[in-house]
Symmetry: C2
Subunit: 412 residues, 2 copies
């Protein structure tokens, strides 16, 4: 019956059903697999203006009565992890030291950006939002005990660790035929895709524009919008990315790299009626261009001169920062517009636990279809700190998606 | 009892009280003052890429049963009028022709901006949002008749005219001791100032930042915030403007022209707790700087590192475009932020007729104090089209505020 627990609000699970009596029979059982020390990946911003990435050996915690110990087997490197991992460091300055088993990466943080790092200076920080693994030890509570041996997913932070001790209530037990790798990314991307469509509905829009649309998340959103019959305009940056999405059934794909981009985007917006966009790029002119094309589309429909432009509200939410440069808004899109930040956690807090639970139920039901993630490479913790690998996953390039398997390689 | 009518939703009045029986006794009376022709200022964008401003002679309408004819005596040149007046023309190219009585001003519209003018090409457009004057003719309805001889204010558009025929229900009769000049600007600026404070309250903020704060509107907002004990950070661009506001009791005034501006602004935001700004500038870095200073202030209060920045929503509404260049957002202010357009009319539509009526009642009650407007110069329609005058009011310079008196000078 444990499948009836679902994560909510980033830290808690909702109990949906009753607990099997079986749990009491198993009470007090403790796995033998709990090593004394294990590795954890750390990111440290030094007051001297350097970023240091390393593996540290930390004592493996003993679970409290309502806790479980997870042997982490799969944890994705999401774009949302890179901010904490790299801080404001210029990764082109990265240099390698340490050993193959205990690599150390050092990079320079530009002086001007150290101010933004003030809150984390000289605090060694664990990384990794979400992941999955096997529960190898459990506290005495029935809730913890019944997870023993199960493969579970969590969004608990500090997942780039060989072992992670969390509340039993934080765990999302995966269906029996699901591997840790399949379940590792069942929170951030799936709930973000669902959150975008849900935001669209709640704010009165009927179709979406999405940038960096060939990303893992973008492909997921494309599948979701096809399934839910929601109009989606996919903005990509290359012909190859365009083909990836078209092969997956995307109807509207606009390549920002071709001269006809603005016209293509306007036509796709006319066709879908999109007045909301989610932008992963952040910097540059794109957010403003989308608003401009929306305005052109709206004015074409209305046909008459309105001195303050269309009265229909046009919104762009910036949820990523693939381009960390300034956002440039030409404001050639009337007065009914908004640009703002969008993050998953505040969205989930706003919609509340019941709505979050329903979104999460859908993710589990469609984990191998709509919400499947695809990885180009699986690495150990030590491999994740090799300059060659950082150069690849650090590019945030579409199509390159890494999965860390901390249980591979040496022990702590 | 006519004072109990109030304008709402930009076009209609709410009837608050009963109508005097007297109205029936006066039914059918018609003033003798209704000339055959009168002047109206027009703005014409030609397909050739030229803007032409001129005075045209038009027949003075005969009021319908529920209409009145106003002899316009005072109509302000608000920043919100200049957009329609000048269109996208480059006014540094303006040249004069015609006569002193019938001046014509021609200016070039840059090719790149003609697209935005498409909706108004070759359509001669009247200008002037709001104004006041004397009702010199009235239709047969009681509502119209009882306004005869009264000084009334309207926000009806086309006010840069010697005569303006409107529905009686659109008129706001001014108290007997109030002149047309005093009542000419009793809609746009007063309701905008009130709308800003009301938006602050409705969206959960407790203090405000305002840019171009020494403007007529800014001084009004300053008086309103002092009266309502709302924290206000006034951002100005010169020492002289700073002094103007300090002389009027402003507590927080930050001069963007001095090197300590960002520090000053941050301290003022810390002191007031402002998380909402209204920005009349639009272009450049200022909107983003305000968000950055808000974020610094919030993070200082919270004291701990949050990877996505403060979770408190920070908002800037752009309601003017003193700088028509692009808005530049560095996004060094976390994820809980928004920038958007704000206009008076959509705001009034959102809050609805009853809330609008209450705001309007307050304006009338405080028309000679909180909501008083000050003008640097009064001109006739013909004088308003002299290059020398355009050079002054077209600058949108703080402290320069023009009032047109169409009843001065020649007739149509």
């Amino acid at each position: 019956m444990v499948e009836k627990y679902f994560w909510t609000n980033g830290a808690r699970l909702l109990k949906l059903g009753t607990i099997c009596e079986r749990r009491f029979q198993e009470g007090g059982r403790m796995s033998s697999e709990r090593p004394g020390m294990a590795l954890q990946l750390r990111s440290l911003v030094k007051g001297s203006g350097e970023l240091e990435l390393s593996l540290v050996s930390i004592p493996v915690p003993v679970p409290g009565p309502d806790e479980v110990l997870i042997r982490v087997e799969a944890t994705p490197i999401n774009p949302s992890d890179l901010g904490l991992l790299f801080g404001a460091a210029d990764m082109t300055t990265a240099r390698q030291s340490g050993t193959a088993e205990r690599p150390v990466v050092t990079a320079t943080i530009p002086d001007a950006l150290m101010k933004a790092m003030a809150g984390r200076v000289d605090r060694s920080m664990p990384v990794g939002n979400e992941g999955a693994g096997v529960v190898v030890a459990a506290g005495t509570s029935a809730e913890a005990q019944q997870l023993l041996g199960r493969t579970v997913a969590v969004v608990a932070g500090e997942m780039y660790s060989q072992y992670r001790c969390v509340k039993a209530a934080q765990c999302l037990p995966l269906p029996p035929d699901t591997t840790a790798a399949e379940g590792a990314a069942c929170f951030v991307n799936p709930l973000t895709a669902l959150g975008m469509v849900e935001t669209m509905r709640r704010e009165g829009h009927t179709a979406l524009v999405h940038t960096a649309a060939a990303s893992n998340l973008g492909q997921m959103l494309n599948r979701l919008c096809i399934e839910d019959q929601v109009g989606l305009v996919n903005v990509v940056r290359s012909e190859q990315q365009e083909q990836v999405l078209r092969d997956q059934g995307a109807k509207h794909v606009c390549n920002s790299g071709v001269p006809t981009f603005m016209r293509d985007l306007t036509e796709a917006i006319v066709a879908t009626g999109a007045t909301l966009a989610f932008d992963a790029i952040g910097g540059g002119a794109l957010a403003g261009q989308i608003l401009g094309c929306m305005e052109t589309a709206l004015m074409r429909k209305s046909g008459e001169y309105q001195r303050y432009g269309s009265t229909t509200h046009k919104q762009v939410y910036i949820y990523g920062m693939l381009d960390t440069g300034p956002t440039l808004l030409k404001r050639n899109f009337g007065a009914a517009w908004g640009v703002g930040g969008w993050l998953l956690m505040p969205f989930l807090q706003k919609v509340g636990p019941e709505a979050t639970r329903q979104l999460q139920m859908r993710v589990v039901a469609e984990l191998k279809t709509t919400f499947a993630s695809h990885y180009t490479r699986e690495v150990s913790l030590a491999e994740a700190l090799q300059l060659g690998e950082i150069a690849v996953y650090g590019r945030r390039a579409t199509g390159e998606k890494y999965l860390i398997n901390p249980s591979r390689g040496q022990t702590g």
